[in-house]
């Protein structure tokens, strides 16, 4: 079935995914101040919004979405990821977002079925 779809429809398009992530983050936490009791809900909202929009793209991919929200107080944060997959079909996208009180890092991994 995959043979009949054009390359565009089955590729991981980073620009599309970037837009989706940015909209999800802005929608969920844009303009908010860090609040410890709200973070749980915010991360869930960001991740669920991303996943919903990604699955609406209708591409034959499985997705893994990770979100980190960290309060700004001078502490450092490092992230890395390693993947064993098929370079021709799979891809990932990481977006860093910040406002005055917090950082938000969202990673999306798309694995072709």
């Amino acid at each position: 079935m995959d043979d009949f779809q054009s390359a565009e429809e089955t590729a991981f398009v980073i620009d599309e995914v970037t837009t989706i992530i940015k909209e999800a983050v802005e929608g969920a936490i844009g303009g908010n101040t860090y609040q410890h009791n709200k973070v749980n809900q915010w991360t869930s909202n960001v991740v669920e919004q991303c996943l919903n929009q990604l699955t609406k793209l209708g591409k034959p991919f499985k997705y893994i979405v990770t979100c980190v929200i960290m309060q700004k107080n001078g502490a450092g944060l490092h992230t890395a990821s390693s993947c064993y997959w098929d370079n021709t079909t799979d891809g990932s996208c990481t977006i860093r977002w910040e406002n005055k009180t917090m950082y938000c890092i969202v990673s999306v991994f798309g694995l072709a079925i």
Binding site: V39, K62, Y63, I64, N73, S82, C83, L111
Partner: protein
């Protein structure tokens, strides 16, 4: 080498979460025990940890499973942090393992996701 479809109804070997968990725990404890947070070193440390975990999980030989490893290292300075993830996949075949290591100067969260290729 791209894999061809197998037309099997289920994987011959399933991804064993407990094995992946043991690997993450061992790798983090081995490298980070007594390690001080240091901006320059932690950058290389995160990539080293994720590559090490990925290689060890690959050696477990779960055939036709793609592996994604993510590692977060943060300095402990009384700030609030939340790490969350969600996945859209097949719950019968795909799974993940995660572990958080803490010492007085840093915390480290590592996750391994195993995704089956039909």
């Amino acid at each position: 080498v791209p894999l061809q479809p197998t037309y099997r109804m289920e994987p011959t070997t399933y991804f064993v979460t407990s094995e992946a968990y043991k690997i993450i725990k061992n790798v983090l404890e081995k490298h980070l025990d007594g390690f001080q947070y240091n901006s320059k070193c932690c950058q290389t440390m995160t990539t080293l940890l994720s590559d090490d975990i990925k290689d060890q999980v690959r050696h477990l030989n779960f055939g036709r499973y793609k592996v994604v490893v993510t590692v977060f290292i943060g300095e402990r300075k009384e700030q609030g942090v939340m790490v969350a993830s969600r996945c859209a996949w097949d719950v019968k075949t795909d799974t993940f393992a995660t572990y958080t290591f803490k010492n007085p100067s840093l915390f480290c969260t590592a996750s391994v996701y195993g995704v089956y290729l039909e």
